[in-house]
């Protein structure tokens, strides 16, 4: 068992465990914390895949930004309602069944196709490649993304504006 394999298993266990924590815990706040952990785990996976830049973005934007926003939203809404938010589950068995079936079929499909086992070396540093691609080939989507973010920012502040 190489270090890579061991790291992968550790990360996998961390990711799957925290993901289960997100969907199973009864406390919404804990859920969010588990999500933060899962996102960090994902960042680890990115690292294992030589995508340091993405791992950084993942932690900064996701684990940092998104989780903060969610926590903030929870706090605000609990203040609005005045009670703790209930965080129960419904139709756990059916949902679990469907999810398990889904997983089974996915894994079954994956097992039947031939996938590469070794990595093709990247042309250069992935971060550099990403930067070049974004600024050249993907410049239009990138700019549109900026617009989208702006719009969603405005929309979010419009929707969540205080009541008149």
């Amino acid at each position: 068992m190489t270090l890579e394999v061991a790291g992968f298993w550790v990360l996998s266990l961390l990711l799957v465990g925290s993901a289960l924590g997100v969907v199973l815990t009864k406390n919404l706040f804990h859920s969010v914390l588990w999500l933060a952990l899962a996102l960090t785990g994902t960042a680890g996976v990115f690292l294992m895949l030589d995508a340091e830049f993405l791992a950084g973005v993942q932690i900064l934007l996701y684990a940092g930004g998104v989780v903060t926003v969610v926590v903030f939203a929870i706090v605000v809404t609990e203040r609005l309602v005045g009670t703790r938010l209930a965080h129960t589950s419904r139709r756990v068995l059916i949902g679990g069944g469907v999810a398990a079936l889904f997983l089974g079929i996915m894994l079954n499909s994956l097992s039947r196709i031939v996938l590469p086992t070794s990595r093709v070396p990247m042309e250069s540093d992935p971060t550099r490649l990403i930067g070049t691609a974004v600024m050249t080939r993907f410049i239009l989507p990138f700019e549109l993304l900026a617009v989208l973010l702006l719009v969603s920012l405005l929309a979010a502040s419009y929707l969540a504006r205080p009541e008149e």
Binding site: R90, R91, G95, V98, L101, F102, I105, N108, S109, I113
Partner: protein, 616 residues
């Protein structure tokens, strides 16, 4: 124009219609009342003068047609005129009565508000046009068109006082009843067209003369045409509308329901006599129905107290005379009676109108002693009555005798007896009216009309037409009493004395009963017993029609309406309701919860992937 008479014939027809268009389209003129009347009367006068000129000048039949309904071969139907002996003299009668009635109406309707008068004269002009168009019609299509139009005018004029429920009802009844006959006429025309390929009288006549008309199926055609005539000319059992039609203003009754429109049926049969001659069975039917109608209506007339209804039944009765003559195969006799009857019956109606106008009631038992109050009216009414009774020197004498002679000569003993009895009854019921209304004690009455002043003779506008008609009636009577026209049939020598005797008998019986009171009217009524009861109820013909209408037609309509709503539409709605219920059942799966939709989505993906598993 081929003949100098062409524009004159056209003028006869077009003068009234111009007046009508003027009145119909120029609303201010129509609402102005008297000026509208003047326009209409001018139209009628023009028509009358032209008719006289046509009648004097006509030496050979004159026909002009213009295409009305085109088809691939040129003209399917045309309009135009056919002026011959019959139509020209009929034109004369129609325009004369029409003109006199319109003048008379000036006085009669003097209390009517101005718009009402305008409306009345518009209808009158339209009627004159339609009737004249009918008279000159060279083919069956134009005849039918005008036939329906006179029916329309009759409907409008009967319903002239439409605020009166009885008038509105009578108008519709008249229209429906005649329309029922018209259905027959229309079918007859359609069948005849298929049978012979033409609507034209002249062509039909040529075909008949040439023996080119097949006899097979012809009886059905003539029967259908007769149905139309029976409806219009109030033959049993379609006579029920005529007495009710007396709801209209009296001048209208004089014009439409005595002199002109009701005789259109007779006129039609006269026009088509050559065709009817091919179907003796139908002629026999015409004669029997005619005679039966004459007798029945005469009996009904005896049981009426309403002066106008007496006259109405007497019209029905006289129409029966004419029909019987036609049925006997001698249309000319019927036509002759039509002409004289037109004159003296119009006179009687107008006289009755003068009485009603003065007294304010139609009920003869509430009149009495009017001879002193209205001597002029009495005289002209008496002239009319004597004419109707068929006494020598008076208008109806010769024509009635001719009808009787024709029927006798036609070998129809049964109808002949019927007619003879009817003649007796005619004299009786007419003199009953005369004695009750004009002679005898003056009944005390509060006049509902004119606020209590005593009845008096009518103003000039009303008396002028009365005298004109009375003189015409006398002139006809005197002229024909001494100049027997040539006829196609032989009158047996005993006939004239017999007819005169029968009529005089009726007069004497009436005199004894109602003037001398030697025979009690009640006793007479008792003696006739159930017959009189039946007569008072009009032999339940009305009731039978009402029963058919209510009990069968309306019931059928209700059933069909129910079926339509609850079966035809019901089945449709049941199917729809099932669809709606199915949707209702299915909509439960739409929980509105986003998790369930995701669940269904995932399950769907699983299912699709499972289905495609072999491919992957």
């Amino acid at each position: 124009m081929d003949s100098p008479l062409d524009p004159l014939v056209l003028a006869v027809v077009l003068a009234p219609v111009s007046a009508f268009m003027l009145l119909a389209l120029v609303a201010p003129l129509r609402r102005s009342g008297r000026p509208a009347a003047v326009v209409s009367i001018l139209g009628a006068a023009t028509a009358f003068v032209s008719a006289v000129l046509v009648w004097r000048g006509l030496d050979a039949p004159l026909q002009r047609v213009w295409t009305w309904l085109p088809d691939a071969n040129g003209a399917l139907a045309s309009v135009g005129f056919l002026a011959d002996e019959q139509s020209s003299v009929m034109l004369l009668l129609v325009t004369l009565v029409s003109l006199l009635v319109q003048i008379y109406s000036l006085g009669y309707l003097s209390d009517e508000p101005a718009p009402g008068i305008g409306r009345y004269y518009a209808y009158q002009s339209l009627f004159a046009f339609s009737m004249l168009g009918l008279v000159v019609a060279p083919n069956l299509v134009q005849l039918f068109v005008c036939w329906e139009l006179v029916g329309l005018c009759s409907y409008l004029l009967i319903g002239f006082w439409y605020r009166k429920p009885s008038a509105a009802r009578a108008a519709v009844k008249a229209f429906w009843t005649t329309k029922a006959g018209d259905v027959g006429l229309l079918i007859g025309i359609v069948l005849l067209w298929r049978h012979t390929g033409t609507f034209d009288f002249a062509e039909l006549r040529q075909l008949v003369d040439g023996g080119l008309v097949g006899i097979d199926g012809l009886a059905l055609i003539t029967f259908c045409i007769y149905l139309g005539a029976a409806g219009k000319s109030a033959q049993f059992p379609l006579h029920v509308w005529l007495p009710d039609a007396m709801e209209g203003p009296t001048p209208v009754s004089a014009l439409i329901h005595a002199a002109t429109m009701v005789t259109a049926g007779v006129y039609l049969l006269v026009r088509m006599a050559f065709l009817f001659a091919l179907t003796p069975d139908v002629l026999l039917l015409v004669a029997w129905v005619g005679a039966g109608t004459a007798l029945m209506a005469a009996m009904l007339a005896c049981a009426q107290n309403d002066i106008k209804r007496v006259l109405a039944y007497s019209t029905v009765s006289q129409l029966g005379y004419m029909m019987t003559a036609i049925g006997a195969g001698f249309a000319s006799a019927g036509f002759f009676h039509l002409l004289t009857h037109g004159v003296f019956k119009a006179l009687l109606f107008l006289g009755a109108g003068a009485v009603i106008h003065a007294v304010g009631t139609n009920d003869i038992t509430r009149m009495g002693g009017l001879a002193r109050r209205m001597p002029q009216t009495m005289v002209v009414f008496l002239v009319g009555t004597l004419s109707l009774a068929g006494l020598p020197l008076f208008g109806g004498f010769l024509s009635k005798e001719e009808v009787l002679a024709a029927v006798w000569d036609g070998g129809m003993t049964g109808p002949f007896v019927f007619l003879l009895v009817a003649a007796f009854l005619t004299a009786f019921y007419m003199f009953r009216v005369v004695f009750l209304a004009f002679f005898g004690p003056e009944t005390s009455r509060e006049s509902e009309h004119g606020g209590g002043h005593a009845p008096h003779d009518a103003p000039w506008s009303m008396s002028l037409p009365l005298w004109a008609l009375a003189l015409a009636s006398m002139a006809i009577g005197v002229y024909f009493t001494f100049h027997h026209p040539e006829t196609a049939f032989e009158a047996p020598g005993w006939l004239a004395p017999l007819a005169t005797g029968v009529a005089s008998g009726g007069v004497v019986l009436a005199w004894l009963t109602f003037q001398r009171k030697m025979i009690s009217a009640e006793a007479l009524a008792q003696a006739t017993g159930p017959l009189r009861t039946a007569a008072a109820r009009g032999f339940w013909v009305d009731e039978a029609f009402v029963a058919v209408y209510r009990g069968m037609l309306m019931a059928l309509a209700r059933i069909v309406g129910w079926i339509d709503r609850y079966i035809v539409d019901g089945v449709l709605n049941v199917v729809s309701a099932w669809t709606v219920s199915g949707g209702d059942g299915l909509r439960g799966i739409q929980t509105g919860k986003v998790q369930d939709y995701v669940l269904a989505l995932a399950a769907g993906v699983v299912a699709v992937m499972w289905w495609l598993r072999g491919a992957m």
